[in-house]
Symmetry: C2
Subunit: 281 residues, 2 copies
């Protein structure tokens, strides 16, 4: 047997997907864990996507919960995270009959970079419809949609190897002509499986280009991201809608909805972020 | 001089409003504070409103921040809070050039009842418009709106003495005929001042009857509430919109927007809650 709990844990991991592999953790003690932020989930800015780092932080917290499904996560992004080792400290706040809540903090180089409080539950295996008052994105079927992987490559964005993006029409900002309307709808799919776990949701809801790209933004830095998981996700295509209502004082919010391709709402997410505008605005 | 820091702090408070008075706190040590949840802010269920308790918990955290304005709060409601004394423990997570983030935990009877992480900033004194893609509620002017204080009194709801509610038409659920559409728009005003502080926002966004009352719900228990403050509030009337998109597996989300009567968006809030349905649904 290895003398390193990290190695034991790594060897134990039967990762069935790149996502599971890259969010694995090693136990240091009851409340402390080690993990590695890999370079396979970088966004347009060439840095690990916040939603991926959040999933890394939530894994060891979930492992201490009596319920498998993420119901709510609110994450505060305190400092940028680079690829490399991180330390995660967890705390169980309350375990109830129906939900359990705890907190996870992710440190890099001794500094806290991310903090999330999260509630877990048991989501039903079999779906009941619920009372639905919203409507899914109005997209052509995935097979009739345009892949965003053609055209100019985005070499900084390694996540483009992990995800497929399809749209009804190419977004204005990708053609150098921002539409002026900060709303986007797209299909999103994990290329390497793992899409049936609620812990993929924090990653998916943060994986698309921000809607403010279409009003001339060059990027966005998340301050806080809240996610409500309303149904277990299903592997395959997700229909997504991103929208922003107000850009003001250097901040914008973004709403993000994730739907299965059978019109079931999987998640509602919202974030507040610092907007980076191009020189023309 | 009094030997009790609690008394000193109370005596120091120059409360200019009932809200300020009832969210005052006393220092126990650098990170621990005492406060009293009063019976003047009870909702329809006859218990203190969650948003009021949240404001009580945020006051001592704000006092340690270099910035006066709440920008983001995410609160998890772990246990019910009754009127009476509470203990509040705070922690500063990070102070940056633009924002500062910390955490506050509220205990009653030795048990943690509420936990919020929150970010503070300096919101501008003078308003710039920003880029607005949403629209304010479509309400008649307050002077042409109907007061909800006429008709059957709601004796359990002491908050009705602190707030005025006005609507374009009486909601279906108040007439015993839920409309079937979980959307409501209303005017809201603090009757006793204090409406120019961002810490009144957590209270205001949780002070209206939940939109699910109009699909037959008898009440709602908040699990998590996230608030983004986009502008400093102004004293006087606030135009509000509450809406729910999905009721499923016993949970509902509610979006709540708060606007000034001059069409400026003050806050975007969203909560996930357990829905209590009447016997007919």
């Amino acid at each position: 047997l290895s003398s390193s709990s990290t190695e034991i844990r790594r060897a134990d991991v039967k990762a069935t997907s790149a996502f599971e592999e890259d969010t694995a953790f090693a136990r240091v003690d009851d409340r402390t864990f080690g993990a590695t932020v890999t370079d396979r989930w970088n966004g347009l800015h060439g840095q690990p996507l916040g939603g991926y780092v959040l999933a890394v932080a939530l894994q060891p917290l979930r492992a201490q919960m009596p319920y498998p499904d993420l119901l709510v996560s609110s994450a505060f992004f305190l400092r940028p995270v680079a690829t490399g080792p991180v330390e995660i400290r967890t705390e169980v706040a309350r375990v109830g009959q129906r939900t359990a809540t705890g907190e996870t903090r992710l440190f890099q180089g001794g500094k806290e970079a991310l903090r999330s409080t999260a509630t877990f539950t048991n989501l039903p295996e079999h779906e009941n419809g619920g009372l639905e008052f919203g409507h899914p994105p109005l997209l052509p079927r995935p097979e009739n949609s345009i892949s965003l992987h053609t055209g100019d490559p985005l070499p900084s964005s390694s996540v483009a190897n992990r995800l497929e993006y399809r749209v009804g029409e190419t977004p204005g900002w990708r053609r150098g002509q921002p539409s002026g309307d900060p709303v986007s709808e797209l299909w999103l799919r994990l290329t390497e499986g793992g899409g049936d776990d609620t812990l993929t949701v924090p990653f998916l809801v943060d994986a698309a280009a921000p809607a403010v790209m279409d009003i001339g933004a060059t990027g966005s830095t998340t301050i806080e991201l809240t996610i409500y998981v309303r149904s277990r996700p299903t592997p395959g295509w997700n229909a997504c809608r991103a929208s922003t209502r107000l850009v003001k004082d250097g901040y914008h919010e973004e709403d993000f909805e994730l739907w299965t391709d059978h019109h079931r709402l999987v998640a509602q997410a919202r974030q507040l972020a610092i907007v980076h505008m191009g020189s023309t605005l």
